[in-house]
């Protein structure tokens, strides 16, 4: 049997059916292949990843004359960028009881401008929106916990105590108190030299 020349393309029911069966079969086989069941380890990893999303939905970075968080700011910005988190940088100035609550504290206020300016620069460089706030309070711990509650923060990030401000406790009393009493996760970044010191003390 030869083919009549010039016979144009025509669609047969069988041909169309086979074409559909081929397309559906190939697509479904490949879809099935690409969705293997997850192992226990993968399930745990996925759960942890989901947990991280919840954990870093709103991040608050705390600065104060006693707490150096500059090195943690870059980390907070990277986290916020990756997870599209809300980011707030708070500078807390503790006003001594010997002064009125709204007393002028020019040195501390100047330091706050520097710290929050640096934080904003890091955030801008990474295309992350940063809210900043400077507060004067009697107790840093109380203020940080109150702001975290107000802002519904999921994570508080703190640096370590500054040189010469060692308050007796290993991480500084304020930092330890915040970590102990916060209702959300707290990440404390201890710079290397302090880490070494702590390591030596521990051993």
């Amino acid at each position: 049997m030869t083919v009549p020349p010039g016979a144009g393309p025509t669609i047969t029911f069988t041909g169309a059916l086979v074409a559909v069966v081929i397309a559906v079969s190939i697509c479904s086989v490949l879809w099935w292949m690409l969705h293997p069941p997850k192992s226990q380890v993968q399930k745990l990893a996925a759960e942890t990843a989901r947990e991280l999303k919840r954990m870093v939905g709103s991040i608050m970075v705390v600065f104060s004359p006693e707490i150096n968080s500059s090195h943690m700011m870059a980390l907070a910005v990277k986290l916020a960028r990756g997870e599209r988190s809300e980011l707030l940088a708070v500078y807390v100035i503790e006003v001594p009881l010997t002064l009125p609550p709204d007393a002028e504290m020019p040195d501390e206020e100047r330091a706050a401008l520097d710290a929050l300016g640096t934080a904003e620069t890091i955030a801008n460089a990474n295309n992350v929106t940063l809210h900043t706030e400077t507060v004067k309070v009697r107790s840093t711990k109380e203020a940080v916990l109150a702001i975290a509650k107000r802002e519904k923060a999921d994570l508080i990030i703190l640096g370590s105590y500054l040189e010469g401000k060692y308050s007796g406790a290993r991480l500084g009393g304020t930092i330890q108190d915040i970590a102990a009493e916060a209702k959300c996760d707290v990440l404390i970044g201890v710079e290397g030299k302090h880490g070494t010191l702590l390591g030596e003390e521990a051993s």
Binding site: M1, T2, V3, P4, P5, G6, A7, P9, T10, I11, T12, T14, G15, A16, V18, A19, V20, I22, A23, S25, I26, V29, L30, W32, M33, L34, P36, P37, S39, Q40, V41, Q42
Partner: protein
Amino acid sequence: MASTSKPQLRRSVTPWGSFSWGYSDVGADIFVGLGLVLAAAAGASNVAFLFAGIVYVCIGLAYTELAATYPVAGGGQYFVMRGLGDVFGFIAGWAVLLDFTIDITLFAWTCVDYSSQLLPVLTGSIHPWVHFLVTLTLIVGLIGLNVIGVRESTAFNGIVSALDVVSETCILCFGFLFAFRPHLLVHTMQMSWPSPYQLMLGTSLAIISFVGLESISQAAQETQRPASVIPRTSIALILTILIFALAYSNLALGMQPWHPITDAAGHPVQFWQIFPNNGDNQGKAVALLASQVPYFGAIAAFYVPILGAVLLLISSNSGVFGSSRIAYAMSSSNLLPSIFQRVHAKFRTPAISIVTFGGIAILELLFAAFPSLHPGAMTIYARFFRNETGLDFLADLYAFGAATSYSFVFLALIALRLKDPLSPRKFKIPFNLPVRVGGEDAEFPIVAVIGFVGIVSILVFTLFTHPIGRIAGPTWLVLGILAYFVYRRHRGLPMFGSQKHEWRKAQVEILRNAGELELMDEYVANVKASDERRAKAAT
């Protein structure tokens, strides 16, 4: 503290990576096999593909179970060595090595054939020297690139495979939608049914469209969660290739070409009739078919030869590194001399393996191309090899090597089911008979027996219908076995028996390294329970 652990291959191959690793090898086969089978089996080409396809499904299932249970580099050779012993492991590995060397030449050859669709100067029958030299250059180039350690990335493999799957699906969908005539298929099958000899020849050639599945198991050691992923990628590959092979052969037989095709006398002929006695067309069958698909063929005529050539070149390259990988694995198991494990001081590649087996591929090319380069040699080939040259010669040996190694893999599957019932099998071939062996419950795989009978019959077809295959194939095996005995004697290792292996310890390590911790726990628990049962029975 200094670490004493050995560096492990990084598990970076994803499910798609694992699929494309196999697809870049098996997927290229239809580009070669279609024309050869249409030329040999004519109106029964679809039946030849169906028979070979059924055997291939059994092979695929066997490989899937074994690779998921023993996710190590080495593939078939490792399974056979573990199931049947060292000497059979060597034979299976040596047959796979033959296939890989043929793989290099066959796919480089057809890569040039596909390129000739756009560059007529590469047509083998018109410019045999150009065809030969370009093929030789490709092989030498691939050897060189592998020696200096340059390989196509898994990502590139993945992209080419994805493009090819989409492209072939489009060709088939458009082809069946606009060009398929069911009555023409029935008519062709009735009027052009081949002789039994031709059908056997076609079936033995059809199996080459399904060779290369072991690439997935060879990459098992680098695949993420191999016990879970490999069964899926293997089954997906089996089904994809089977759908393509059956669809292509039926379409080719029942296709009304978009542009009328005529013979030398100007009479219109059917599409499949352009393949018998035309080596040039046989080498680029998919490109020719794609160009005859209505509407889509206008685009396909340009890109399918290129896509086919790229896929075939990747497949040829997989022969180069596959042979060195197998040789490395065999050498690690003391089946081949340690020289094949030696890596180049500068490039850190198994250069000796690559050059040795690449060199064998070049010899095969010389043998295949010699009559076309020196017509005087044709009388010798006509007298001793029934004019088998070029593609026929390469396809012969390819079918022989595949059928031999696959036969042993079926036996290894049966042996391992009985000898090692404690290893957890995340994928198990269905249809099993419960048996009790050595105090343990085991399952005897019926599908493995069916597959073994099928592949042995294809091996018999190959030996019966391929004059070169029945001489060169067994010669390769016999020479290899002799060399193996000499090597084992020289090393003071058992010649017929096996070295002592700590399989239990090895299995725990395999599963731990594979990241299959749940399976490792299950295996340890099975072993403990078995030991307790035995201790109880002894008291």
